[in-house]
């Protein structure tokens, strides 16, 4: 057995163990440890991705050599490895480039706790992507919720505390529904491992006697994860949460955590229920409608905002709507588009949040647009970085955002009914609304002013990470075909 096959286990166990050590280290040491762990995870993920590409497939890792139903498994295939590589890259970049935004707002005596929680989040993300057992998935969803509430609370202000409580309450409602759905599914099938669940569900569905129980289970699971990831109408906690946490925390929550929950849902839909049964239950139509509403309402609320962070938060709600739109369409092509959007948004939103922090910082900490006028003279690099992210969100060609919109559009052409027309109409409306609110922001930032150009005092790490985000966004847009081909190959063996 190749050593490479054991890497996913090391990637999960290492951050979990070292988070305990981080909590007793000094802030700087904890940061270095966290960065090293993230870098190792990134390298290991790429290593496994290459292994899967060369050997053309997937494998199951049995933990401790205990077979079903006593043991636990990890499943490693192309989709899992590529998504977790993106998550590791984004986490590493946020922790490296977001140093300023973390250390400016969090008490220095608590920095070690912040990085310990980041390690827990890192482990949870990897488990949510790699696990082959849905109950393990639930446990790590809860760990992720607790850790993400922690990184919000550590800011210490009253507002961030209230926002963290609101986030936690909604996350717990979602977790409760998810747990009940999983328990109900276990009650019907007697299995928790994904391959066994799939077999049982197909058999039960064909008997025709279990349509209602299966519908109930998928509904509980889908609604639970939708609440946690912020699908309309459960998105209203986002503005307060992303607006009052540190920019790095908002980037982690918006860029990777919500995506990991959605990936777990996609895994359940494609791998446990199969797309045919999922579509037959009718849940896909409900998701589709709420996703369309989410795109339009999220974009509209972003236009109405005067605060740059809250605007980015509502933009996230709209972008999450895109991912759910792909799930709601319920075809392989639309799932590919959703997975592409997960990658594209994960690489764009953290860049927007981190740039917004820089722009706000050089404008005397102002969040309101009226105070950001002429910010390009105060920090040209952050303004360019923000603009590039904004252009990607709008869907300008060569960027990742354009390709995801193109993929959603083409995947809708499989249908010839209301789904095709609604998808195309919403894509057009959303592009117009995106253009309005990002143009509004960029016009303010690039307003000509008489101020002299200031020397840029942004840290070197931020500049490097800004360039990494910009280049990876362009790379995803330009070499989209390669990425899509890997996802399609992965979906065949998912």
């Amino acid at each position: 057995m190749s050593f490479c096959l054991n890497l996913p286990l090391f990637m999960i166990v290492a951050p979990l163990s070292f988070s305990v050590i981080s909590s007793v280290l000094k802030g700087k040491a904890a940061r270095i440890l966290s960065l090293v762990l993230n870098a190792i995870c990134l390298i290991f993920n790429i290593n496994i991705l290459v292994y899967c590409l060369i050997n053309g497939g997937s494998y199951t890792y049995m933990m401790g050599h205990f077979p079903h139903p006593w043991g636990n498994e990890l499943k490693i295939s192309l989709i899992e490895t590529i998504i977790s590589s993106i998550f590791s890259l984004v986490m590493f970049s946020i922790l490296l480039g977001g140093k300023e935004s973390i250390e400016d707002v969090i008490d220095h005596s608590k920095l070690n706790l912040y990085y310990a929680l980041c390690n827990l989040i890192n482990a949870s993300l990897l488990v949510l992507v790699y696990t082959n057992d849905i109950f393990t998935g639930y446990v790590f969803v809860e760990i992720c919720t607790l850790a993400s509430t922690g990184i919000l609370v550590l800011r210490g202000s009253g507002k961030s505390l209230a926002a963290a409580i609101r986030y936690m309450v909604f996350a717990l409602i979602g977790s409760g529904l998810l747990l009940f759905g999983i328990v109900y599914l276990y009650n019907i099938t007697g299995n928790l491992l994904i391959p066994n669940l799939k077999e049982s569900i197909i058999v039960l569905w064909e008997t025709g006697k279990y349509h209602l129980p299966l519908l109930t289970a998928i509904l509980f699971i889908t609604v639970g994860i939708s609440i946690k990831s912020g699908l309309f109408p459960f998105h209203f906690w986002m503005a307060d949460t992303y607006g009052s946490g540190s920019s790095a925390s908002s980037s982690i929550l918006s860029g990777v955590i919500s995506k990991a929950y959605i990936f777990f849902l996609i895994k359940i839909i494609c791998d446990v229920f199969t797309l045919e049964i999922f579509n037959a239950t009718g849940v896909s139509t409900i998701i589709f409608i709420f996703a369309l509403l989410g795109i339009v309402v999220g974009s509209y609320q972003a236009i109405r905002e005067n605060d740059i962070f809250r605007m980015c938060a509502y933009s996230s709600a709209a972008q999450i709507g895109y991912i759910y739109m792909g799930i709601g369409l319920g075809t392989k092509e639309s799932i590919v588009a959703s997975l592409f959007q997960i990658g594209a948004h994960a690489l764009t939103k953290p860049a927007l949040f981190l740039s917004s922090y820089r722009i706000s910082k050089v404008s005397d900490g102002a969040h309101k647009f009226k105070n950001l006028e002429g910010a390009y003279k105060r920090d040209m690099f952050a303004s360019i970085c923000f603009s590039q992210g904004a252009l990607s969100m709008v869907g300008i060609p060569l960027t990742a955002g354009f390709m995801s919109k193109y993929l959603f559009g083409t995947s809708a052409f499989v249908f010839s009914d209301y789904r095709l027309y609604l998808t195309l109409i919403v894509l057009v409306i959303s592009t117009i609304l995106n253009t309005i609110y990002f143009t509004k922001t960029m016009v303010r930032i690039f307003t000509l002013s008489n101020d002299a150009i200031k020397r840029n005092d942004a840290s070197l790490q931020y500049k490097i990470i800004g360039i990494v985000f910009m280049l990876s966004n362009f790379a995803l847009g330009i070499f989209a075909n390669n990425f899509i081909e890997i996802i399609q190959r992965g979906l065949e063996i998912f």
């Binding site: 139903p69 006593w70 109950f135 639930y138 446990v139 809860e142 919720t145 607790l146 509430t149 922690g150 609370v153 009253g158 507002k159 505390l161 209230a162 963290a164 409580i165 609101r166 936690m168 309450v169 717990l172 409602i173 977790s175 409760g176 529904l177 747990l179 009940f180 328990v183 109900y184 276990y186 009650n187 928790l192």
Partner: protein, 127 residues
């Protein structure tokens, strides 16, 4: 219909408890009541899991008197899941209680609506 409900009475109670906990967690503005709602919700899930694992006439899977037939024992997995779920529930409750304590320290209230109102007023004052 009544027969089905009676046959699945434990599951029915679990669903009712889950709904009670869910509504309390969602609607009640008081943090302590929210935490109680959360615990009711968790307990409902645990009750549901326990009911799956229990079968009349079977005992815990510990070999006694040389009986090795699997049909004599219950499946221990649901009990294991309940244990895991209890641990998760306790951790979440601890964090929620810690947040409530911090909230009371800062705002001198446990009512979330009151906290939002205070925050909103301070924002208005800043404007």
């Amino acid at each position: 219909m009544l027969e089905i409900l009676l046959n699945n009475r434990i599951e029915c109670v679990a669903v009712i408890l889950f709904a009670v906990g869910f509504v309390t967690l969602l609607v009640n503005p008081n943090m302590i009541k929210k935490i109680i709602g959360l615990n009711i919700m968790d307990s409902a899930c645990n009750l549901f899991l326990t009911s799956i694992g229990f079968e009349y006439g079977k005992t815990a899977p510990i070999v006694v008197d040389g009986v090795t037939s699997t049909s004599a024992y219950i499946n221990p997995l649901p009990a294991g899941l309940v244990l895991t779920s209890i641990v998760v529930g306790v951790s979440v409750t601890a964090v929620m209680l810690a947040l409530s304590y911090k909230m009371y320290e800062k705002y001198h209230t446990l009512n979330l609506n009151e906290v939002y109102r205070i925050n909103h007023e301070s924002e208005e004052d800043e404007k």
